[in-house]
């Protein structure tokens, strides 16, 4: 079977490139060694260099501000109306840092260890170690910027624990940590705008990348308010455009989050790493019906005191939960995982919720005949701690739940269900965060590098800021120094003109279809295929079916979509969506191919064929200890798989167990 699959769906190519991490020194000296060996650009010469940054979330905003301070000319692009609105803003819980402020034996090595283990041993040791190493400096930087972290009466910073680790290393700002960190980066960025080092391009989206003589040299951006395509040439390009979870249509991502920038780069030669690794978050508010546009995450911290259950009997599911006596309730996580109970990691909690609903024991409104919800019950906590104490701890989340659902969670249990949350895959990058396309750097959620197959809580904010404030400013100079003497690319050069023409042709093609289906109807259909077959549980059979369905849907899209309005002269939100959905159609297929090839279960990727007797995820380190890095070969052509072997010199690989 594997041979056939190979021929039809993909071919295997050369192993991935050298990561540039210095492997001749101990892990703890890797980052110092790399920084020392990287070439520098002297301050007077930085003024002559231009860097494009797409996306102004934690990674892009921090990088733009930092590179601007250093004296480079930076052009920052974002599709929102203000840099302050990037989706990093919606992160609630917190940000980890190995500060050991609690004297609880935390250390850089322990944060590194927890992160690699949490990622189910599918992340790169050197990158993760560096993440842990710079984590402490992130907190210092943010405090200096005025980020109002939670404090104690002594005036020092407060911490809490998060995501199942055994130390308190999470810094937080109520339930708005992402917002406060992003505002810090945004303010640093606006300071550079005032200083003239950074030029902002609001309501612009990147629609093509300019590649000249094998290097990334600029982008074609579309001014969304006028429809005009604009050319921007530069010495290097940084993509910090976030994740691609909206391929599922319903997700916790912002409505505008998209894969277009990284997908255009992929089509121009940048490899795509581990596209199938998607994190499903267990505590989201369930879908209410078919008018739904997105899902809302409830903080994972609720699982500290809430008890998760479903009725034991399917016939009780429509009853008022308060009328179901204790003996008729199945506290299934406590039953199956007695030692971790409701605090099992995200992938496990999510999968078991799905199992309960698939068995017919889900609660709440039925969507397509199945009730997809489980109870998260605070009745015991209210009895134990009192309503006031529960309110002090979770009040804002309870209010948010009530606003969205109309139910009062103090009176009746919340209903939750898993939802697509964060994508661990992204463009392949080396230790410098450079893709295999020289001059193209990728930061934050848009790259694949630090999270492996699963992501622990409070680690995404850490990666975004680590990449933006500390890694990129110290690695991109190595490239810029080497290409300092390259001739400036002329806007009329054939490579630039070709990129502009490609972008224009694509828009013309979308406008010309003139069918009778809306873009959203295609997006919803793609999303349901992805959720059904490439969601929480995947099988070879299902993935193959999904690939066929996606190909059919894509053909239908290009034959029957209709984009109303004009492409030039005014805002056209349908056209924006059409371009993004067209890219999701191609990316969705690659996700399914990647999931099909990886015949093991790890973190957020659960292959039903690969599980232990108890139904837990079963990794196959002998066959899959690698990063999948995919090369584009053309529309409808099988992609090429390059494998980057993962080397674990400092951590022993173990099977995760939460029983």
């Amino acid at each position: 079977m594997t041979d056939n699959l190979n021929k039809d769906l993909y071919t295997e190519g050369e192993p991935a490139l050298d990561t540039k991490a210095p492997m001749d020194v101990p892990l703890s000296e890797c980052w110092e060694a790399r920084k020392f060996r990287a070439a520098l650009v002297n301050p007077a010469n930085r003024r002559k260099l231009r860097v494009i940054i797409v996306g102004t979330g934690l990674a892009g905003g921090a990088a733009a501000a930092s590179l601007g301070e250093m004296g480079y000319n930076v052009d920052a692009f974002f599709y929102q109306d203000s840099a302050r609105r990037a989706h990093s803003i919606a992160a609630q819980g917190g940000i980890n840092a190995a500060k050991n402020y609690r004297n609880d034996n935390d250390s850089v090595h322990r944060l590194f260890y927890d992160t690699v283990k949490g990622g189910d041993y599918r992340a790169r040791e050197t990158n993760v170690y560096r993440l842990a190493e710079v984590s402490a400096a992130i907190i210092d930087q943010c405090v200096a910027q005025g980020v109002p972290f939670a404090r104690e009466y002594g005036g020092l910073l407060d911490n809490r624990s998060f995501g199942g680790v055994q130390v308190s290393r999470t810094f937080y700002a109520r339930g708005q940590t992402g917002q406060q960190l992003l505002i810090g980066a945004y303010q640093a960025l606006e300071r550079q705008v005032a200083a003239g080092t950074v030029t902002e391009h609001p309501r612009h989206e990147m629609v093509e990348i300019i590649v000249s003589e094998g290097r990334a040299r600029g982008i074609i951006a579309r001014d969304m308010t006028t429809g005009e395509l604009q050319t921007f040439v530069a010495d290097a390009v940084v993509l910090a455009t976030g994740g691609y979870g909206n391929v599922f249509f319903l997700s916790t991502n912002a409505m505008g989050c998209n894969a277009t920038a990284i997908w255009r780069a992929h089509r121009k030669g940048a490899w795509f790493g581990n596209p199938c690794f998607t994190q499903i978050h267990p505590t989201c508010i369930p879908q209410h019906g078919d008018q739904q546009s997105k899902l809302t995450l409830m903080s994972e911290s609720l699982r500290n005191d809430g008890r998760i259950w479903v009725p034991k009997r399917a016939e009780d599911c429509e009853k008022d939960p308060r009328d179901i006596p204790e003996e008729d309730r199945d506290y299934y996580l406590e039953r199956i995982y007695p030692s971790f109970g409701n605090l099992v990691p995200r992938d496990i909690a999510s999968r078991q919720a799905k199992n309960m609903c698939d068995e017919g024991r889900g609660v709440g409104p039925k969507i397509d005949g199945v009730a997809r919800g489980v109870y998260l019950d605070f009745a015991d906590a209210i009895q134990r701690m009192g309503r006031a104490a529960v309110s002090a701890k979770y009040g804002n989340l309870f209010d948010m739940y009530e606003r969205i659902t109309g139910d009062n969670p103090y009176e009746t249990p919340m209903r939750i269900y898993p939802a697509v949350h964060y994508t661990m895959g992204g463009l392949w990058v080396d230790y410098d965060l450079e893709s295999n396309l020289p001059g193209l750097y990728v930061a934050g959620e848009a790259n694949f590098s630090d999270h492996g197959a699963n992501r622990l809580g409070a680690s995404a904010l850490m990666q975004g800021l680590s990449d933006g404030y500390f890694v990129l400013p110290n690695t991109i100079n190595d490239y810029l120094a080497k290409c300092f003497n390259l001739p400036k690319l002329d806007e009329s050069s054939p490579d630039v003109v070709a990129a502009l023409e490609e972008a224009q042709a694509r828009i013309d093609r979308l406008m010309a279809v003139g069918g009778n289906r809306s873009v959203d109807s295609f997006h919803k259909e793609l999303g349901s295929i992805m959720w059904e077959y490439c969601g929480m549980e995947r099988t070879a059979e299902g993935l193959k079916k999904a690939i066929g369905l996606i190909r059919e849907l894509r053909a239908e899209f290009w034959a029957n979509v209709r984009v109303p309005g004009k492409s030039i002269g005014e805002l056209n939100q349908s056209l924006e969506k059409a371009g993004r959905v067209a890219d999701f159609m191609e990316l969705g297929e690659l996700m399914c191919i990647d999931a099909l090839v990886r015949e093991e279960s790890c973190g957020g990727h659960f292959r039903a064929e690969s599980q232990t007797e108890e139904g837990e995820a079963l990794r196959h380190d002998d066959r899959f200890l690698f990063v999948s890095a995919w090369e584009w070969t053309g529309e409808g052509q099988p992609p090429i798989l390059h494998k980057e072997e993962l080397v674990y010199n400092n951590i022993e690989l173990k099977q995760r167990s939460y029983k």
């Binding site: 921090a62 501000a65 930092s66 929102q80 109306d81 203000s82 840099a83 609105r85 990037a86 989706h87 803003i89 919606a90 402020y101 400096a137 210092d140 930087q141 943010c142 405090v143 200096a144 910027q145 005025g146 109002p148 972290f149 939670a150 404090r151 104690e152 005036g155 910073l157 109520r174 708005q176 917002q179 406060q180 945004y186 303010q187 640093a188 606006e190 300071r191 705008v193 902002e200 609001p202 308010t225 912002a254 019906g289 008018q291 546009s293 997105k294 948010m400 606003r403 659902t405 109309g406 404030y469 809306s518 959203d520 109303p564 309005g565 002269g569 005014e570 805002l571 939100q573 349908s574």
Partner: protein
């Protein structure tokens, strides 16, 4: 639910614009206000009409991108963002009027979408602490009294949606500006450049064409993040100090 919607349509900044009326049926009470507009847009598409342009992004009430005037009130009848307003707030058969933020400093781009870049330029004038990356002392080197940290947080919760401007009869951005000044001046890190910041941000506010504050309080009444009105008096005290010191 069945509703009558009166919506402001304007194809571009130069177009005069007008109210249009639409009937919509079968809206779920569970839907958010923006999901209701999504449904309307699918219907307009099916009828061969152009969908209504409106802004939204996170749809979780935190990014600040959405924002329309509903029945004359910024973000509508509940104190929340437009994306977190749900249709159960309305009754079957209601007539709902929907307009964009109205302010000279917020030019209309299309339909319900306005340009709020003026708020970014107020931040550029001084709404930050001048610290370069890598130059920060240890976070515990400067303790901050918990009361100050909490009050700073309260002011920092502003999401920059612009509802305060839309609600103000003078279209003033004073609540927005004061929230930032209050946030930064309460923290020891933000004190050194405080008075300069106050003067520069207020000058920018005037230059952008926002009106002046006459303490009406509509801004705080509609603020989805419940920024307290007294941040404005905090700013005014700092302004007085700046005048006294000749900043």
């Amino acid at each position: 639910m069945n509703l009558t919607l009166k919506i402001w349509r304007q194809s571009g900044p130069q177009d005069p614009g007008a109210m249009h009326e639409y009937q919509i049926r079968g809206i779920s009470e569970e839907s958010s206000f923006l999901e209701m507009l999504d449904v309307l847009n699918e219907e307009l598409f099916a009828r061969g009409e152009e969908p209504i342009a409106f802004d939204s992004d996170c749809r979780e009430g935190i990014c600040g991108q959405c924002g329309i005037v509903i029945n004359g009130v910024a973000h509508g009848p509940e104190v929340t963002t437009t994306c977190q307003l749900h249709m159960r707030t309305f009754n079957d058969g209601d007539v709902i009027t929907i307009e964009p933020w109205r302010a000279q400093a917020f030019p209309i781009i299309k339909d319900l979408v306005v340009n709020r870049s003026a708020l970014d330029r107020i931040i550029q004038a001084g709404g930050y602490i001048s610290v370069n990356t890598g130059a920060a002392p240890d976070a515990h080197a400067t303790p901050v009294p918990k009361g100050d940290a909490d009050r700073a947080f309260e002011a920092a919760a502003c999401i920059g949606c612009g509802a305060c401007v839309a609600a103000c009869p003078n279209a003033s951005a004073m609540l927005f500006t004061s929230a930032k000044v209050t946030h930064l001046q309460l923290l020891p890190q933000g004190k050194p450049e405080n008075l300069r910041r106050v003067v520069a941000m207020l000058n920018q506010l005037d230059e952008e064409g926002f009106g002046s504050c006459t303490n009406i309080g509509e801004c705080a009444a509609v603020c989805p993040k419940e920024i307290p009105l007294d941040v404005i008096s905090t700013l005014n005290r700092q302004l007085g100090k700046a005048a006294f010191m000749g900043v």
